[in-house]
Structure formats: C-alpha cells, structure tokens
C-alpha cells in the first residue's frame, strides 16, 4: 500500500474509533455533557423520599415556587443551646434552581452538594441505595453543613446542639485549603 493510502487508512480508522467513542459517551450520558447536573437531579429525588424525619427538603415547594431549592431545619435544638431570636421559625435556605454553579460533586465523598452561600451547604450521597455498601469512602448518606459563626454571635453554644456535631472541616477558601469549624448533621440511612 502506498504511503498516502496508509495515512488515509490510519486517519479513517482513527476517525471511526473517535466517532464510536463519542457515540458511546453521549449514549451513556443520555445526550448531555452535564452529567453531574442531570444525575444530581435524579439523586435529589431520592433524598426527598427520606424526608419526614428531621429534615425537610421540600421538593414540592421547589416545584411550586418555580425553581428554587428550599431546605428547612428544625430550630429547636439550637434554641435549646442558647440561640436567641429564632423562636417559632425554621431555618430556611434557598437557592435558585438555574444557578448550576451552586451544584457540585465532591469526589472524595462521592457526594453531590448544593451550596447555599454563607458557608452553608447540603451534601447527599450520589446513590443512596449503594452508598456505604460497596466499600466506598464513607457511609454518610446526607449531611447538613452550617456555618456556626452567625449562630454563635446570636448566643449559640455550638458544643451543645443536640443531634449536631461541631467539628473541624477541610475546606477551600479562595481556592486555598483551610480548616474551619462547622456544625454537621450527618445521616446514615443504612
């Protein structure tokens, strides 16, 4: 075979291989390149299924409000721990649905997360059915993460919030690693 023929054959083979590969990719991802965003929506629906315990992740409210994630936390343990001025109110966090950048994937934990700003976020396992059962890195199915500083300023004793852990967490601030203290409420549904 002539050199040009060989080159042509090689290019054609490479093109076919690349085409096949890309087809496989798009076929697997269901036609979207934002696989995290798509899968997080699916996983979020499963999280809603466990609502009704101490956490309300109100998917219905989200749908009705026309595009907001809405999360409520029972304030009573915080009030018992000295928090002032929050009687009768639930903590409410919301984020606009179309802000894709608020949605993230935490590879080390195999979690999705929604960042609400102000150091508050919510993480949930990518797959609640298999989380912690396949030798994965952790067994926390969902975790509430709150920034304790404004609460401490409002009189909260963070060490004494029932059902919540006050612990150091590795985060990135401005892209740099830092250790900050957070209030954490993990749930293991296993």
């Amino acid at each position: 075979m002539k050199k040009s023929g060989k080159i042509g054959a090689a290019v054609a083979a490479a093109g076919l291989a690349l085409g096949g590969f890309l087809f496989l990719i798009f076929h697997n991802s269901g036609g979207t390149l934002d696989v995290v965003g798509k899968d997080a929506q699916r996983a979020l629906a499963e999280v809603r299924a466990v609502a009704g315990q101490e956490i309300v992740l109100d998917g219905a409210a989200f749908r009705e409000s026309g595009g907001y994630y809405w999360m409520e936390i029972d304030p009573s343990p915080f009030l018992a721990a000295g928090l002032r001025g929050a009687d009768g109110l639930a903590f409410q966090f919301m984020i606009k649905n179309n802000n894709r950048l608020a949605l993230g994937y935490h590879a080390a934990m195999d979690h999705y997360n929604i960042t609400f700003g102000g150091g508050n976020l919510f993480e949930w396992a990518k797959d609640l059915r298999t989380n912690g059962t396949t030798g994965g890195p952790q067994d926390k199915d969902i975790v509430f993460v709150l920034n304790p500083e404004p609460l401490i300023a409002a009189g909260l004793d963070p060490e004494n919030v029932e059902g919540w852990a006050y612990a150091p967490v590795q985060v990135e601030i401005g892209g740099r690693p830092a250790t900050v203290w957070k209030l954490l409420k993990p749930f293991d549904f296993a």
């Binding site: 990719i25 798009f26 934002d34 995290v36 950048l101 994937y105």
Partner: protein, 782 residues
C-alpha cells in the same frame, strides 16, 4: 576474502536500535564483524562478498524496520540538509505539541494546585462539576499531541511487534496505557461514576510526548554539532571548477571533473581537485591543509591540492586525483571512519543497551503488578501522606489499578537507553573532530582510548625529532666562507653540499669544477681556488672541527688557494617544536625514548639538545619493532612516533602508532594517529585530547548508568515505600529527556578543548602529508 562496507542507517532512535541492527548484521552468514554507531548513524560491516551480498545485508536491516543506504560521495550537503530538515520537522512537532500540551497540563493541574495558588480557571471545565466536559476537553487537547508524536507509536509498536523493543516502544506503551486508561475512565464518567475524573491521565501522555519531542529536538541539534568538524572539512572544497576545453573556459560542477581534465584557477579561487601545474606561476595558501601560514610558490610541475587557495597568479593545471581520491577526501574519510568507530569502553554500554528495553518492560510490569496486589491486600499502603502528594499524580488514596498504572507508566518513561547509547559515540565524534581541527587525525576510537594510557613515547630521530634533511648549523671562518663554498657546491649534487647552497645568501659563478671521490669538491670562484671537503683535502689543522663532530654534526672544511679558511658544520637539525613537545610529555609523566639507526654519538647529541634521557641507538630498521615489544614487556603502554617506511613495523607494533604528516604513506597507513602538521607538540596534544575524551566518556557513562540506576527504582515506587512521593510520570519524561540532552551537552564540552599552554595554534584543520613547503626549506636559517 572479506571487505569492509560502510552503510548509512536511518530510523535508529536509541541504543536498543543500534544494538538490534548490529545484531542482525552480525547474524548474517558471511559477516565477520559489524559495528553500528548510533551518533554517526553508520554501520561498518566486514563481510565476505562470496557468501553474502551487500543487497542481502541491506535487506536484512530493512526487514527489521530500519533503512540501510550505501553512502554516496559528495553527500555532505545532502546529509546536512537531511539533518537540518529533521531538526526543523522535530521543532515544528514540538511546537504543535507544546501548544496543546500546555493548556492540557493547565486544566489538569490547576485544580490540584489550589492548595498553594489560585489560578484562573474556566468554571465549565471544573472537574467536580463538569467532569465529562473536563474529560472531553482533555481528549480534544491530547489528540493533536498524539498526532505530533505519532512516530513514537509507528516505530515503537512496530519494534515491539518485531520483538526488538526500543525507546520508542517504551514511550508508545507508556503513553498508550495512560490514554487508554483515561478513555476508559471517561466512559465511566459518562455512566455516572464521576470519581473516575480523578483517574484521567491525558495530560501525562501529552506532556510526556511533548517533553520527549523537545528532548529529541535538542538531541538532534546537539548531534549535528558533534559532526561539525567533518562539515568544516567538507566545506573546504569548492563546488565548481573552470574546465579549459578546446581553448574555451567553462564552469562545471566539481563532481563532473575527471582525471586528466585541464582546469584553470584564478587568483582568489580555491583549487578544485588535486593536480599538477601545467602553466603559470602563483603562490598557493595551503594553510587549511598543511598549517603552513606562508603561501607556497607554484610553477609548472608542482603539485596543487584541492581546497587550497590560489592567491596571486592564474594557473592552469591537470587534474590528477578527483572525488574520493583527493587528499582532502582521504582526510575526511579518515575522520569519518574514526568517528564511526567504536572504542572498547563502549562495550559495556552496548551490552546493557541491547537488553535494556526488555528488562525495563519487565521491571515496569513487575512493579505495576506488585503494587496492584499490595493495594488490593492492604489499601492503606497506597495512601500518600500530605507532603508526598506534592506534585504527585495521585491525591490522597488511589485505587490499586490507578496506582499500578502510574508506576507502570513512570518506569517505562523514565528508563532511557538513549543516554547509554550516546555516551561514548558522541564524545568520540567530538574528540576526533577536535583532533582534526588541530591537525591530529585519530584513525579509530580504539586509538583514542588507548592514547590516554600511554606511559612511554618512542620518537624516531631522523625526520621526526629532526628535520630529516641536513642544514648548516655553524660557520667558523671569514664572512665570504659560506658564499664561496656554496658557489662550488652549487655544481655538486651531494646532499651536504645542497645544505650549504640552501644556506647561502648569494653565490658566484664557478669554473673548473672538480670532484675528488672521497675527499671533496673544488672550483675557481672570484679568482680563488676554493676547496670544500674533508680536513686533509682542505689542509685543516689536526683536531679542527672535533668539537663539532662530537655534537653529532658533520664538519665541511674549506680552503682558499690551498690555505685552510674555515669550517662549515652541517647537521640534521632538531625541529623547533621537538624540545617543547618532549618537555610537555615529561611534564605529563610520560617517559620519552629516542630510537635511531644512527651512531650513538650523533643520537646522544640530538637527545641532549631536546632533553631525551633514554636513547636506543644503532637499531636496525627491522629491530625497531623488537625494541617496542621489549618496552611493552616491561609493562609500558608505548606510543611510537615515526615517519619513514622503516618505522612502519614499529608503528604497527606500538600500542599507538603516531605518524608524522610529512612522512611516507606506508607510515601513515601503519599508524593509529597521523599528525598532519609535522609538529611534535601535537603528540602531547593528542594524549591530552585522549585523556579529556576518555574522561568525558566516563562522565557520560556514569551519568547515564547512574540516572537509570536511580531513576527506575524511584519510578517503581521505592520512595513511596518509605513515605516519600510517588514519581509523577510527567517528571519521569522530563528527566528522561534531560538525561540524553545532558550527555550530549557534556560531550559538546570537548569542543572547548585547547592544546597545552605554549603550543602555537595553527589554522589548519588537517594537512596534506607529503609535500614540505618551499618556504620552510628556504627559511630554515632565518
């Protein structure tokens, strides 16, 4: 009956290639010996044409994937252009590769560097939010890099298929493993296994290819520089000649000149080929060939040499030697042969290179499997400490397969047979080339290597330590003694008489010349009857001239009108450079011996003048080799320096035979080193150059071996066992490229070689051996 053939070998990329070509050539029936030089890209094959054809040898080389070509004469420009084109293509590939590899590295590494520095980063490629986009972007960037480095795959996998893996095979397998594993993980991401984003190694493959291409470019450029001496020699020859045919002049390419052509050379033009002057007078600057700075007068009957510069007049000459037969071509061939030859010191590196790649593949596989099994059994063993994660390809813990893959790729990529293969030939090329620049033609790598061990230098006397022709050394008598004696001797043909004539400023007409056999000559000059000859013939007093004879000189007695007038002493004078050369050798701790067939008294007189302590006098020509053998039996490494046919056996017997350029062709054939300038200070220079070259080779081998001995265990994860970092394959690639470049750069340091202080720097690159200049003869006393 064997014959030797040089073949140009193309397509070799590393020492494993040259070892493979050498092996396949040696295996052919009828091949007595084959030696392949990677740096010169040449094979030297000794074969029996009755048993194997050249065509079969070429086919055997081509069967294993390389190109074998018969070297063509006048291919200097072609070779240069080919090398320059290769450098240009490599440079273009490197630039293309770098253009894509740099952003690839950036998008891969920037998220990992956030713990130290925050770099601007496109949110849409954030691997934690958009892993599939991130992976596809990396694929898009790595494809052009892989295309730029396609030769590694074409050559490497073909070599692997032929069961003769080379350096390209290591690169091809290593980067292919990285790309295929990353493609697999991209598919995993598309299936929702987003953690696989941490196991993408496209940037590893991209940067490895770019760095290797960069290394190859630098290597090709450096290789070109190692052959600069040859280029300089080849550049001396003019490209065209003016042919005189049927009374008309026509400019023709140098390749069209045939023996017998009559050529015209104008002032300022270079002599195109070797020949003999037919018409005209001129002065020719032969400094580029002989080192003689003064132009040499040429007239009808005088030889002229290709590449020398015609300065004053226009001459017509007949071409006697053309193409490969010219003195210049022979010198070039000699240097090329030396540069293509191997020094024994290269043997170990050659042996290692031959088995290097398969062993490295084995180590890589073994290390990968070991880490994989260890990781499966004890996952914690794969976890890197915070400090060890710096610049590591793995952050935190890793799956056993990922860890094993990183180790596998790193070992393949860091192993570098190139440095081993280049360590010796590059230094030999630069060393022999540098020798040629100083008028020292070293005929083989073996000679270059042996020269550094020389403990004794034996000089032939006549023509080596001395000029080899008698000259007037002393005048005792009236001022007109020399001119009157020369006027008589002018009519004589005696060599001693010719020395007198050459020394005289003026001569007068002489009449009634008479030669008395065994006594002398006489004639009437300026009204005086002048006799020149033995003491009795010139009525010299008893004992007159005895002190001159004691100094090894021949006294010629002169009488005017029967009355003793004076003495003219004639002797074979010591070359101006002899004493300095011998001092330098003694300073280097080398014993200096003089050997001669002359009587002991003359020999010792000459030895005293130049500072030689040990004299072997009255040695018959056939016994010179025995004397050398005797010195060798004493455990000495002996160099013999000589010029005559009678020195040839001794030159051959010596560990290193050094022929003086003005000597006979037989002597130069027998010698290992030819000093083109007849300057004895080139002897210590040659030894110095040998020492420097061998030191350079040892440094190169040390670094090349050391690099692999240290690099491979580090890449295999040895440091990680002790809590250290895991080598990033990118750094492995950088180190691998640097190893070749550092060996080449070290070899190029030899270009800065200067002869010992006090030696006069000549301008020559080399010299034609056989024609002492007229100026040198005439100016002997000045």
């Amino acid at each position: 009956m064997t014959q030797t053939q040089i073949l140009d070998i193309r397509g070799m990329t590393c020492a494993a290639c040259s070892a493979r070509v050498e092996k396949i050539l040696t295996k052919q029936a009828g091949v007595a010996q084959a030696s392949v030089n990677l740096a010169a890209e040449k094979a030297r094959v000794e074969y029996d044409p009755a048993r194997v054809s050249l065509r079969a040898l070429i086919a055997a080389v081509e069967k294993i994937g390389y190109q074998a070509l018969l070297p063509r004469p006048e291919k200097a420009d072609e070779d240069r252009l080919r090398r320059e084109k290769a450098v240009r293509v490599l440079r273009a590939k490197t630039v293309v590769s770098a253009l894509f590899a740099v952003p690839l590295l950036y998008i891969a590494m920037a998220p990992m560097l956030t713990r130290w520095v925050t770099l601007p980063y496109p949110p849409a490629l954030d691997p934690m939010n958009y892993p599939l986009l991130y992976a596809l972007a990396e694929i898009a960037l790595v494809i052009p890099v892989v295309c730029a480095g396609h030769r590694f795959y074409a050559v490497g996998f073909r070599a692997l298929w032929m069961r003769s893996p080379n350096m390209d095979s290591l690169i091809a397998v290593g980067t292919s493993a990285a790309v295929l594993y990353s493609l697999f993980n991209t598919i995993q991401i598309s299936r929702g296994h987003f953690a696989a984003v941490n196991a993408l190694y496209f940037e590893t493959a991209g940067v490895i290819i770019t760095l290797i291409l960069l290394g190859k470019t630098l290597e090709a450029r450096s290789k070109g520089k190692t052959g600069e001496a040859i280029k300089k020699l080849m550049g001396l020859a003019p490209k065209t000649a003016i042919l005189l045919q049927d009374g008309a002049e026509r400019e023709i390419p140098i390749g069209d000149v045939v023996t017998g052509d009559v050529l015209v050379v104008r002032p300022g033009a270079k002599i195109p080929v070797d020949g003999v002057v037919l018409e005209g007078r001129t002065a020719v600057d032969e400094s580029m060939l002989t080192g003689e700075s003064m132009p040499v007068d040429k007239q009808a009957g005088d030889p002229v040499y290709a590449a020398s510069l015609n300065t004053t007049g226009s001459v017509t000459f007949r071409a006697e030697k053309v193409g490969a037969d010219t003195a210049l071509a022979q010198i070039i061939r000699l240097v090329e042969d030396a540069q293509g030859s191997k020094a024994p010191i290269a043997n170990l590196a050659d042996k290692v290179s031959g088995v290097f790649v398969p062993i490295v593949c084995g180590i890589a596989l073994l290390a990968g499997v070991a880490w994989f099994i260890a990781g499966r059994l004890h996952p914690d063993i794969l976890r890197l400490s915070d400090a060890a994660q710096a610049f590591s390809p793995i952050q935190g813990g890793a799956a056993p397969l990922t860890f094993a893959l990183v180790v596998f790729i790193s070992v393949l990529v860091i192993a570098c047979p190139c440095a081993l293969g280049l360590a010796t030939p590059t230094a030999i090329m630069v060393g022999t080339g540098k020798g040629a620049e100083h008028g020292i033609l070293i005929k083989s790598g073996e000679a270059l290597e042996t020269a550094h061990k020389i403990s004794t230098v034996v000089f032939d006397k006549t023509g080596t330590v001395t000029e080899g022709k008698p000259a007037v050394t002393d005048l005792l008598g009236p001022p007109d003694l020399l001119s009157l004696a020369a006027s008589v001797e002018k009519l004589s043909e005696h060599p001693l008489g010719q020395a007198v004539v050459a020394a005289a400023q003026e001569t007068f007409p002489a009449a009634d010349f008479r030669s008395v056999t065994g006594m002398g000559v006489e004639a009437a000059v300026q009204g005086k009857q002048v006799r020149v000859g033995r003491a009795a013939y010139a009525n010299a007093p008893e004992g007159e001239g005895a002190d001159l004879a004691a100094q090894g000189k021949t006294p010629l007695f002169v009488s005017f009108d029967g009355v003793f007038a004076g003495v003219i002493a004639v002797a074979d004078v010591v070359k101006p450079s002899s004493q300095a050369a011998i001092e330098a050798l003694r300073g280097m701790g080398v014993e200096v011996v003089m050997i001669t067939g002359d009587n002991r008294r003359t020999a010792e007189a000459i030895a005293r003048q130049v500072g030689i302590d040990r004299v072997l006098a009255e040695v018959m020509p056939q016994d010179k080799a025995n004397e050398i053998r005797q010195l060798q039996r004493e455990g000495k490494i002996v160099a013999m320096v000589g010029d005559g046919i009678n020195d040839a056996p001794a030159l051959a017997q010596a560990d290193v035979g050094i022929a003086i350029g003005s000597g006979t062709d037989v002597a130069m054939e027998s010698a290992d080193i030819v000093l083109m300038r007849s300057d004895l200070t080139d002897v210590p220079t040659a030894i110095q150059l040998s020492k420097r070259t061998i030191r350079n080779i040892k440094q190169n081998l040390f670094w090349a071996f050391g690099y692999n001995v240290v690099g491979i265990p580090v890449a295999a994860g040895l440091l990680h066992l002790f809590g250290g970092p895991l080598l990033n394959p990118i750094f492995a690639a950088a180190a691998m490229s640097l190893s070749s470049v550092s060996v080449l750069t070290n070899a190029l340091r030899l270009k800065r070689f200067h002869p010992f202080p006090g030696k006069k720097e000549g301008r020559s690159l080399s010299a034609h051996p056989s024609e002492p200049s007229k100026q040198r003869k005439a100016g002997r006393l000045s």
